[in-house]
């Protein structure tokens, strides 16, 4: 069924999003908390340390945690306001049954579980195990991520499990595995402090990872040159030494040309290349024609600036290269990542102090959540689900016959396609809001409506949850013990600060209960989160993401431990590759040849403008949490279409005029914000909003052939000024848009 039981307006009336503001008089209990708990922010991969204050089982405020080494008390506006997700009037506090014409009717846990398990059984008996899919998310702790992977394979016996990291770090993960045989940023961020040259490409650090800015500015104060690659003048680019404002989708052309320049001018570390890498000759052959003039033509950035950047990078003695979704959200996301890794390997600057490379993981547990069997092709410890040795090891840990362990399943967007093809009939989701976060989301909506049964676990009624047949109210970050792994690869402790509100349950209890009712309770009988972690430690042992030597006690004592940590007496690994022993089959770091390819939705006479998407500082991902926190909503009350004055003038668009943005997938109207801080051929939309204000109505579902990440960052569009000016400032209700 999976259709809305009532019109969306009526569901919003009851379940929000509604805005939660702090009490003007101060939250009661803020000044005399019962407890002050050192934990972490729930948003983004930085996982900043923060102290939450609780009174009478309610979170009442925060205090900066000055001692936590990464952020030393610093926070972004999301971190400051994060505590307002607690005690939120929108919290789901009862299991709910989709009842057409009546809405979501509260029911007992027993009835909701019974219906859920009966439907899972019916669908799997009728259509096979793989007809029931799992979509999970990496706002979940390591413990819950691990358990979701095991739950899909052991309890549901389905191969079709994937997660929202598919929209996030998979291109980087695939590229890192190809090049290094391991998927983690190579250094902790303190190695930025004395890097001579830092390249930040496709990463709007000051809006998406604000606290990382401090380390970049620290490097600059120590004399670093900063090179920012981005089609917009993002806050980091404003004072960068070089801003390469390239055309979206041309990253590999830029980095190919930089590699070629390094070769032509012998700005190479021959000793490193000869002894510790493979594939160099094929790789440089692939870029031999990538001249600066060619790169200027393809990327649109001036060749003098590209040359200056190549020279700085080539001649540096220490350096760091950081990238994020800007280069990864492409049909050539993996190639873009490899093109960055190639210039790092050519420089030989890795595995030494102040010499580093890495993707900046986006989601709260984007790092840990992608290591322990939470995705369709992977088993814990970042093992391969198609490798017989890996399968055998994990089957033994789980106490199942290897023959019963499902194989490789479909990726997130492929699951949506498979629903359309009638191959998948049932779905369970947790912490994933695909109606806002997946591309071409009207197609996603049609898929949800086709499902015979959809059960969702979440703490708020997200836009996607409105399609559920059964809703199971789960828990927030601060309502369960656990661990997460930060973007640096540091495993940190998440603390339970309060119990879930009456009527809701801890996520892991919900999963265990379903597993019990499916007859595999013996495999899901964890007394507490630490027991799950201890099983994860064993499951990861010997894998590339080896957590065996990490314990709760050790994390607490050290404010985090960097994996790999293979033995109990091992201190962890803040900086990888100091031994030059890479985790590839031949032990070398691999260069990979990268040829530049155009994007899949190129501009043409009908769709002449490039649309790219991204984020704003006060919102997080699909906004399920942050579109409910009053001040964060007011800070950016609606998505603007950022457009350069030259393009605006050509099209006759005035400031704040409503502009219809049309792509081959659909169209939507946004007020124009005319700014010189973007390329003339490119417009930008942030994607956090739902319904008619969702940028992902317009984006395409072309996928990278390896990582299966969608090409969010490049869509061809046309712009039609409407003559209307509906802009009303920060009273806009776009956070509820349907």
């Amino acid at each position: 069924m999976a259709k809305l039981p009532l019109p969306a307006e009526q569901i919003i009336d009851e379940f929000g999003p509604h805005l939660h503001f702090p009490d003007p008089e101060g939250t009661p209990g803020r000044d005399e908390p019962d407890k002050i708990v050192e934990t972490h922010c729930c948003f983004c991969g930085m996982q900043c340390g923060i102290k939450l204050l609780a009174k009478n089982n309610k979170v009442v405020g925060f205090e900066p945690w000055m001692e936590f080494p990464f952020n030393e008390g610093r926070l972004c506006p999301k971190g400051v306001q994060r505590y307002l997700q607690d005690n939120h009037p929108d919290r789901l506090t009862s299991p709910l049954i989709n009842t057409p014409g009546k809405g979501y009717v509260p029911t007992s846990w027993d009835a909701a579980m019974e219906k859920t398990v009966a439907e899972i059984r019916r669908i799997q008996e009728t259509y096979g195990h793989d007809a029931f899919a799992v979509l999970s998310g990496v706002s979940l702790s390591n413990e819950k991520s691990y358990m979701m992977g095991k739950f899909a394979r052991v309890a549901l016996k389905t191969k079709n499990l994937d997660y929202n990291g598919r929209l996030c770090m998979v291109s980087a993960g695939a590229g890192n595995k190809k090049a290094f045989g391991l998927d983690r940023t190579s250094n902790n961020y303190s190695d930025l402090a004395y890097a001579e040259v830092i390249i930040v490409t496709g990463a709007n650090v000051s809006e998406t990872f604000p606290t990382l800015t401090y380390w970049l500015w620290q490097a600059r104060d120590n004399g670093a040159k900063i090179i920012v690659v981005d089609p917009r003048e993002i806050p980091l680019a404003r004072t960068a030494d070089i801003h390469l404002d390239i055309r979206p989708g041309t990253d590999s052309a830029l980095f190919g040309a930089i590699l070629n320049y390094m070769v032509q001018h012998d700005l190479l570390d021959h000793e490193f290349i000869d002894n510790y890498t493979s594939g160099f000759d094929e790789t440089i052959a692939a870029v031999k024609d990538y001249t600066l003039a060619w790169a200027e033509e393809v990327t649109g950035a001036k060749k003098e600036k590209i040359e200056a950047a190549a020279k700085l990078w080539g001649k540096a003695s220490t350096s760091f290269l950081l990238h994020a979704r800007g280069i990864e959200h492409h049909t050539k996301g993996v190639e873009n990542v490899l093109s960055c890794i190639n210039i790092v390997l050519a420089s030989g600057r890795i595995g030494r102090p102040y010499c580093g490379y890495g993707t900046i993981t986006g989601q709260g547990n984007g790092q840990g959540g992608r290591e322990h069997g939470h995705k369709c092709d992977q088993l814990p410890g970042n093992r391969d689900i198609e490798n017989p040795v890996h399968r055998k090891y994990i089957s033994d840990v789980w106490g199942i016959d290897e023959k019963d362990l499902p194989g490789k399943g479909l990726t997130a967007y492929e699951i949506i396609d498979a629903i359309h093809r009638d191959e998948i009939k049932g779905l369970i989701s947790i912490c994933f809001n695909p109606l806002v976060s997946l591309p071409n989301n009207n197609y996603v909506r049609a898929a949800l409506e086709k499902l015979e049964f959809y059960v969702g676990i979440d703490f708020f009624m997200s836009e996607t949850m409105r399609h559920c047949d059964v809703i199971l109210p789960g828990s927030l970050h601060e309502e369960e013990e656990g661990t997460v792994t930060t973007a640096e690869g540091r495993v940190v402790r998440i603390r339970k600060v309060v119990d879930p509100p009456a009527g809701a349950r801890a996520d892991s209890e919900i999963i265990m209960e379903i597993a019990r009712r499916l007859g595999v309770g013996d495999k899901f009988s964890y007394p507490d989160s630490e027991a799950i972690f201890n099983e994860l430690r064993i499951a990861s042992k010997g894998g590339t993401a080896d957590y065996y030597g990490i314990t709760y006690e050790k994390i607490e004592k050290n404010m985090g431990i960097f994996w790999p940590c293979p033995e109990l007496d091992h201190p962890g690994t803040p900086r990888l590759w100091e031994d030059r022993k890479f985790k590839t089959a031949d032990g070398k770091a691999h260069f990979n040849p990268v040829k530049y390819h155009p994007s899949m939705d190129p501009t043409d006479a009908e769709y002449p403008v490039i649309l790219t998407t991204g984020r704003v500082v006060s919102q997080y991902l699909s906004g399920t949490q942050t579109r409910r926190i009053g001040k964060l909503v007011k800070q950016f009350a609606q998505p603007f279409l950022e457009i350069h004055p030259v393009l605006a003038k050509t099209l006759g668009i005035s400031q704040y005029e409503d502009v219809r943005v049309v792509t081959k997938r659909g169209d939507a109207v946004f007020p124009a914000n005319i700014v010189e801080t973007i390329r003339e051929d490119t417009v930008f939309l942030p994607y956090h909003w739902p319904g008619k204000k969702s940028a992902n109505q317009l984006t395409s579902a072309f996928l990278d052939p390896i990582s299966k990440i969608p090409e969010f960052k490049v869509s061809a569009c046309k712009l039609i000024p409407t003559g209307n000016h509906s802009y009303i400032g920060n009273d806009a209700l776009d956070y509820q848009s349907i």
Binding site: G26, P64, R238, E676
Partner: protein, 188 residues
């Protein structure tokens, strides 16, 4: 052990580092003494041409003109050099301070008929903590600590606290980070 106001710690503002995220505004507004109003303000310089933002906080002048022009004697400077927000029982909402401040800091809150401005988180600094805005600032555009600390961290900048407005020289408790070797900032 009880902690007191740390005289050796000072407030430093580094506009070059500001990323416009408004964590400072959100953090300031958390204080119930402000009634959820922020006493620090982040503004775009001109969003149509640049992403640059500036941050404005009370500079806590050595000879505070806001206090000098207050007819109700509602604004006072304490022994630590902190210029306090208007005493609510005295402020008559005349806006003299709003018009007189060379930095444009005090705001008349019409809702409360009261001038409100930063008091350097007196509830925190008086017990040895750092002000909330400078504690959370994710870019280090706001910093609270000793002169030695900031000079070690930022060898290419010099804190200045002398501002020239025409013939007028204003010295402040809050410092602005300027290029190395600077001694003052001429505003007008």
């Amino acid at each position: 052990m009880a902690e007191y106001y740390k005289l050796q710690e000072e407030f430093f503002v580094d506009m070059q580092r500001c990323i416009g995220c408004k964590a400072c505004e959100a953090a300031c507004a958390e204080c119930e003494t402000n009634g959820q109003e922020s006493m620090i303000h982040v503004n775009y310089v001109d969003r149509s041409t640049t992403i640059q933002t500036t941050v404005q906080v009370c500079m806590h002048c050595e000879d505070p003109v806001c206090a000098n022009v207050c007819p109700a004697d509602a604004i006072t400077k304490d022994e630590f050099g902190v210029v306090h927000t208007a005493n609510t029982s005295r402020c008559i909402g005349c806006s003299n301070c709003v018009m007189a401040c060379p930095f444009g800091v005090p705001k008349k809150m019409e809702e409360y008929d009261l001038m409100m401005k930063c008091n350097m988180c007196y509830d925190r600094t008086s017990v040895g903590k750092k002000p909330m805005c400078a504690t959370v600032c994710p870019s280090g555009a706001l910093f609270y600590g000793t002169r030695e600390e900031i000079q070690a961290k930022r060898p290419n900048s010099t804190p200045i606290n002398t501002f020239l407005f025409g013939e007028e020289t204003v010295k402040t408790k809050v410092n602005l980070m300027m290029p190395k070797g600077s001694t003052e900032l001429r505003v007008l």
